[in-house]
């Protein structure tokens, strides 16, 4: 008890007596506090202070009692998981790409090269009747029957041709 101010009723003995009765009653009420109340309250209060000090938000979502290293480990785990998922997604998208790391210009150049190769095959000098085709000259004559005849007429040549081409 830390009252320093004196009672203003000391001049009236009856009021002073009532005050003394009230003080005695107050003391009795304080003495009725259960044993160990202070210790129990101190433990809970210390815990509450630490929890609220860490982070009010974390305390509210139930992490108030967790130690610092546990929180750090949980955060590191979350970051690691996010990075791993990001890498997996990145790798998956690379696998699904037909020309990884090839620019559009290189792709166009490669396309043109393949086209010219095809035309070179199509203009094989063995077939004198075959007219070389170009993109500017559509409607090339149908030479499928000649090729069919050629393939079946000389099996040895056909085999070597296919070996070269394929």
């Amino acid at each position: 008890m830390n009252r320093n101010d004196s009672t203003p009723h000391t001049h009236d003995p009856e009021l002073a007596r009532i005050e003394a009765m009230l003080d005695a009653r107050g003391a009795e009420m304080r003495d009725r506090a259960p044993d160990g109340l202070g210790a129990r309250v101190a433990i809970e209060a210390a815990h509450a202070a630490r929890a609220s000090r860490r982070s009010p938000v974390l305390a509210r979502i139930g992490f108030g009692g967790a130690s610092a290293w546990r929180l750090a480990a949980a955060i590191a785990l979350l970051i690691g998981s996010a990075v791993a998922i990001g890498m997996l997604i990145g790798r998956g998208s690379s696998l699904n790409t037909l020309t990884p790391g090839v620019s559009d210009a290189e792709l166009a150049s490669l396309d043109a090269e393949v086209e010219s190769m095809w035309l070179a095959v199509a203009t094989d000098p063995l077939d004198n009747e075959f007219t070389p085709g170009t993109p500017d000259r559509p409607g090339l004559p149908d030479t499928s029957e000649d090729l069919y005849a050629l393939f079946w007429s000389d099996a040895e040549w056909t085999a070597s041709f296919l070996e070269d081409v394929l």
Partner: protein, 210 residues
Amino acid sequence: MSAQAARIAMTAPDPGVAPGMGEVVDVDVVQRAAEGDEAAWRTLTEAYAGRVFAMVHARCHNPELAEEITQSVFCTLASRLGQAGYTERGKFEAWLFRITMNRLRDEMRRQRRQANPTDPGVLTLMDRRATDGEPPDDSGLHLRERLGQALDQLSEADRTVIELRHNAGLEFKQIAQILKQPIGTVLARHHRALRKLRPLLTDMQEGANS
């Protein structure tokens, strides 16, 4: 801040107050408590838990509930200290008992919707008297009972001042801070409450004697 000013409680106990309760709790203890130091909290609860309990018990008449409320008061205090630190320098007690009053008000509001439990101590005594045929003793315990009954007849505002003064053991200045009233109002209310108690106690005394 001087060492004297840094103290949030005073050393000289009031005459008529139990000796040994004039604890000194300085700012350092409160700051350590804000950091969650259990020893600091023990110091604080040794100084104040009994006083908070007395305040609460006088109203709710249930020791278990009073203990629960006392615990929640200190947990609220701890949370606020932990979040914002101790900012109300020199007003720690007023702050603590303001939290107590608010918590008590909430509890009383809740209890108004329910039946009030009877103090188990009173029930035990009534039971003992009924079984042992104990003659009525009108001195010690019944004086407290009469005082309790007389206090029940005071207005809420008068009773609050009396309880803060005599159960919590606060100064009038601190009571004025808690209730946010001028100190003159608090002094007048206290004086008026004592004058109201005088005839009530006299009537009860006469009733008991006749």
